[in-house]
Symmetry: C2
DNA sequence: ACATTCAATTTACATATGTAATTTATTTTA
DNA sequence: TAAAATAAATTACATATGTAAATTGAATGT
């Protein structure tokens, strides 16, 4: 699995959200956080890692897209987080959120309905 | 907030589980994964960061304990993970687990009961 | 008291990461 | 086509991290 750093992830998010984006699209989207040069480094590293790829060149400007599926990435990361912090137990994690009042009965009911729907 | 690396976390877990532990307790517990010297480095770094503290010295051997509460650490990490991967939405996270069938109606019912109990 | 042992401390070193400046090479313009 | 502009690529550098060997210094045995 390709390892993506926190800063790199921000670039990935732009790509996931936009589908495709030029270096400038990316830079514009996150320039409050980073210097253009920094963003270009992140783009290059992601490219070197094989997480993104250029799909087009116009003038000197490349357009990139992600080679990693966002949903799958989330799943892998969530599972490894779960393993690392909660011995792999979803219930332990949820207990945590219940205690913090970040998870209400209404939320749970809503999820139940979703499960029902999926079952059908 | 003190930042604890993945390898360091393994040391913290031993301390959390045991309450207190000598360097050798720690080394023994995780020696399948790391060289003694490596574990000592981790202990030293955790001490330097203020995450653990020596509570006793016997001969040349120190006994350590964690200065960080496990529960709180979990909460902080969970929230930052949530923010990083799910825009802070617990529901988005859960949806993910429902899709993976890692979360069943039974689990949800169980949680509801817990909430009921807490409310009382 | 002195030598020996051994836990602790220091040093080492490669790779990753955040952050950005500098250089290069390709376009575009005059 | 020569000069200027500029996107991309390269280089830089400090800190973090995984990994462990080398050194030190305090206990302990003789």
């Amino acid at each position: 699995m390709i390892k993506i750093s926190d800063a790199e992830l921000v670039v990935m998010k732009v790509l996931w959200q936009k589908g495709e984006a030029t270096s400038f699209d990316i830079i514009d989207n996150i320039k409050e956080n980073w210097n253009e040069s920094t963003v270009r480094t992140l783009i290059n590293r992601l490219h070197a890692k094989g997480a993104i790829e250029p799909v087009k060149k116009e003038g000197k400007t490349y357009t990139y897209r992600s080679k990693i599926n966002e949903e799958e990435y989330r799943i892998v990361e969530s599972n490894s987080f779960l393993k690392k912090m909660y011995e792999g137990s979803v219930n332990n994690l949820l207990l945590n959120f219940v205690k913090q009042r970040k998870l209400s009965k209404k939320d749970l009911e809503h999820l139940m309905n979703l499960i029902d729907e999926e079952e059908r």
